[in-house]
């Protein structure tokens, strides 16, 4: 469902992502770990079409995000690390706007807005302008927008940062449920307990290179203690 083939990103002489390859199957929950500045966000930005790779290819649902971007973009939803919204639009307007960009009929947008309102408890603020929102509210609106068009793939950069425990629970439950329904999730995070709770497979990136890949064993656990392994590999 997601495939990275020898992807490289250079900024001048600096190599931010160095020849990485990954393949993530349908319905898999993939955790992308790494220390600050390792190249996680750069990789995600290439996967979502925000950066053009200096080399290699990113395929989403079989479509190259750069040479055949529109079908690729129809198949995924994206939650960035910073949930920027249009300050002068309300949450509901933002959802209608995103729905329009994905060319959903107004009735579908209205119905799905009602759904996400219930799921993420947006009712109290969805008709206020984003300039009034807290970080957690923004995060929930952005996640709702990413799920609005019922994507096959969800690409999330740091989904839990800024959320209160209740909202974090809501997000985790939704992601679990959606993965069971066949959604493929690519998640970058620093929070190892989230990875242990949610992910089927992980990769650790350091200085732009993938230094470790691992899948859960039959007991639905990672081998060894994830925190110790992470610290050892990234030191």
């Amino acid at each position: 469902m997601i495939e990275l083939r020898n992807v490289t990103k250079k900024f001048g002489s600096f190599v931010a992502v160095d020849n990485i390859s990954l393949k993530i199957e349908k319905g898999q929950f993939f955790g992308f770990l790494g220390p600050n500045g390792a190249g996680k966000t750069t990789t995600i930005k290439m996967m979502t079409g925000l950066y053009e790779p200096s080399g290699g290819q990113c395929l989403i649902d079989g479509h190259n995000i750069h040479s055949n971007s529109l079908p690729a973009k129809r198949s995924f939803g994206y939650v960035p690390d910073q949930p920027f919204l249009y300050e002068k639009l309300t949450g509901r307007e933002f959802l209608y706007f995103v729905g329009g960009l994905f060319q959903l009929p107004p009735e579908t947008i209205a119905q799905r807005t009602e759904e996400v309102m219930g799921r993420f408890e947006l009712g109290g603020f969805i008709d206020k302008r984003a300039e009034e929102y807290s970080q957690g509210m923004r995060q929930r609106i952005v996640l709702s927008a990413a799920l609005l068009h019922d994507p096959k793939v969800l690409i999330i950069d740091e989904p839990i940062v800024g959320l209160d425990p209740r909202s974090a629970r809501l997000v985790k439950d939704t992601l679990k449920q959606k993965t069971r329904e066949g959604l493929t999730v690519f998640m970058s995070t620093h929070l190892l307990e989230i990875v242990e709770e949610l992910c089927d497979r992980i990769a650790i990136i350091k200085s732009g290179r993938i230094i470790h890949e691992e899948a859960q064993n039959e007991a639905k656990q990672f081998n060894g203690h994830l925190e110790e392994m992470f610290l050892e590999l990234t030191k």
């Binding site: 129809r74 994206y78 910073q82 002068k88 329009g100 009929p105």
Partner: protein
């Protein structure tokens, strides 16, 4: 003082670092900037020297009258610097995240005020300073003035003059915010705009250049007879008058009479800076808090302005079937519409632009420009046409240039959605062009009608205006995409950024080129019209075609640059 120098040092170091970056793109930007700024400065220098030479050697208006004209120009300059500073300083002194950060540090409020004032002054006045300096050099070169005159005039006359305009701007804004906390923003804005427009009107009413020439010429050749009652008392208290008095007495070799004006300028500058420091110590923090409160409460007040058919989720109607045929076009249009009309800095500026255009048209109506020799008619047609171009370029700079930057940090949601960026770009270009074209045609046709041009000239002006609107829109959108500032939330700051200044200068060069293309054929046309009632139209066919081709080439190049830039990495 140490922390003040530290912050200012850091800012200048970061500015220089940005300027002296050695990668290809930055070098290209720096070189292009140097070329355009340098070219523009040289152009202004030559224009200033040419006009001075013409007025003093050909038209023989005399040194005194020449300096009165200069005083009026300096007044316009003063108002421009002043308004520029007022517009930008709310964003710089009250809404910048840097101020939030500095307020959390153990630095006095007066020092933060000073740091941000310097920031604001350089940000909003550097292009104007360049124009002023080039004009001063051109003026000085006519009189063969020595090098130390330029040095003295730049640092002790011109800079204090600009500083007075800048300090008055921030003082005005600080006091306005203070008053707004008591009387409310809307009432205050209404009073302020009325007062400002009245002051400018009164100034030009009392120092009307046409009236001035008429009065002086009544006493010609004994112009000195007019000296006694020429200056209205109010004018003598204005800094532009002090600058021209200093220049007048200096070029006439009477240093003793020039010195008091220098002292007046210096003392006023120092006095105003001290006053600003004292007021900042007392009011800056309070007004900053008031502005922050107002900002926080702004979202809580629901706007009563509603247009049901443009609301998100509204049922498709006639408007949709004509203009918003695809869901993407509808979503983008509605977003842009509501973002514009919910941001007071956008619609207030639009309103201000409309007022300026109306003032311009009513001024044109009061001049008798449709009579005279072919040369005078050519000059008056081109001056009006150029001024139209200048206004359209200003509209494009303020509203079209920031269009791509206004995608802001939130551009991620458009870039990751299945939106063809080419379509997005042309969506912006289409709406910007239609709106600019309407403004252009109102201006061009309105002014041509008031001036009394014939039907053929109306067509020529209309066609050239359409070319101008298309090119200026494409140029500003393309450059706005190339110099996009996605992190900058304030469109006013985007429109006064380095890239915006460069684009504006570029558009001035384009307007200059159009004028050059038109000048000879227009003169021929007016000459033919003098001798034959209907002849002469043939002179203008070719220039219109040349202007159309030139405009198309510039528009295509700008669109190419804009499209390439909008597809680039979104950082």
């Amino acid at each position: 003082m140490r922390e003040l120098l530290l912050v200012l040092n850091l800012k200048s170091a970061s500015f220089l670092k940005g300027l002296l970056r050695l990668d290809a793109r930055s070098l290209f930007k720096t070189l292009t900037s140097l070329l355009i700024f340098g070219g523009f400065a040289v152009g202004m220098f030559l224009l200033s020297r040419g006009v001075t030479t013409y007025l003093l050697d050909t038209a023989h208006i005399g040194s005194f009258l020449f300096h009165r004209f200069l005083s009026m120009l300096l007044y316009v300059f003063f108002v421009t610097v002043n308004v520029g500073n007022i517009i930008v300083c709310y964003a710089t002194l009250y809404r910048s995240q840097e101020v939030d950060f500095l307020m959390s540090l153990p630095i006095s409020h007066a020092k933060i005020f000073l740091i941000k004032f310097v920031d604001n002054f350089f940000y909003s006045s550097s292009t104007l300073a360049l124009i002023g300096l080039a004009v001063l050099l051109g003026y000085g070169s006519y009189f063969n003035l020595p090098w130390y005159f330029y040095f003295f005039s730049v640092f002790f006359i011109f800079m204090p003059f600009m500083l007075i305009a800048g300090v008055v701007a921030v003082l005005t804004l600080m006091l306005l915010i203070k008053i707004a906390t008591r009387v409310g923003v809307r009432l205050l804005l209404a009073v302020m705009v009325t007062v400002y427009v009245s002051v400018i009107y009164v100034y030009f009413r009392t120092t009307n250049p046409v009236q001035l020439v008429g009065e002086v010429m009544k006493h010609y050749p004994d112009v000195n007879a007019y000296f006694g009652y020429l200056d209205p008392p109010l004018v003598r208290y204005l800094p532009n008058h002090w600058v021209t008095e200093f220049l007048y007495w200096s070029v006439n070799g009477n240093v003793e009479r020039a010195i008091p004006y220098f002292l007046l300028l210096m003392l006023s500058t120092v006095g105003l800076i001290v006053l600003a420091g004292l007021l900042a110590r007392k009011y800056y923090y309070k007004t900053w808090l008031a502005a922050s409160d107002a900002q926080a409460m702004k979202g809580m007040k629901r706007s009563s302005f509603r247009l049901r058919f443009l609301e998100f989720g509204s049922r498709p109607g006639v408007f949709h079937s004509f203009f918003l045929r695809s869901p993407q076009a509808e979503a983008l249009f509605k977003r842009d519409f509501w973002m514009f009309f919910r941001d007071p800095s956008q619609w207030l500026h639009l309103l201000l632009m409309v007022v300026i255009i109306l003032i311009f048209l009513s001024s044109i109506a009061s001049f008798e420009l449709h009579v005279g020799q072919p040369l005078m008619r050519t000059v008056s047609f081109l001056v009006v046409f150029l001024f139209n171009g200048f206004l359209i370029a200003s509209v494009a700079l303020r509203f079209v240039f920031p269009a791509v930057s206004l995608e802001s940090d939130c551009f991620w949601c458009v870039r990751t959605a299945p939106v063809d960026l080419k379509k997005l770009y042309f969506h912006k270009l289409r709406y910007a062009f239609v709106l600019t074209l309407i403004v252009t045609e109102v201006l061009v046709v309105g002014s041509a009608t008031f001036v009394g041009d014939d039907a053929f000239l109306l067509w020529v002006a209309g066609l050239c205006g359409a070319c101008m609107a298309f090119t200026l829109t494409s140029m500003h959108l393309g450059a706005g995409s190339y110099f996009a500032l996605y992190k900058e939330k304030n469109p006013i700051r985007v429109a006064s950024s380095h890239g915006a200044s460069l684009t504006f200068l570029g558009s001035m060069v384009y307007l200059g080129a159009i004028t050059m293309i038109l000048v000879v054929p227009l003169h021929q046309y007016f000459e033919s019209r003098m001798f034959t009632a209907v002849g002469g139209t043939v002179w203008l066919y070719l220039p219109v075609v040349v202007i159309a081709v030139l405009s198309l080439l510039i528009a295509c190049a700008s669109t190419g640059v804009g499209l390439k830039s909008i597809r680039g990495d979104f950082k």
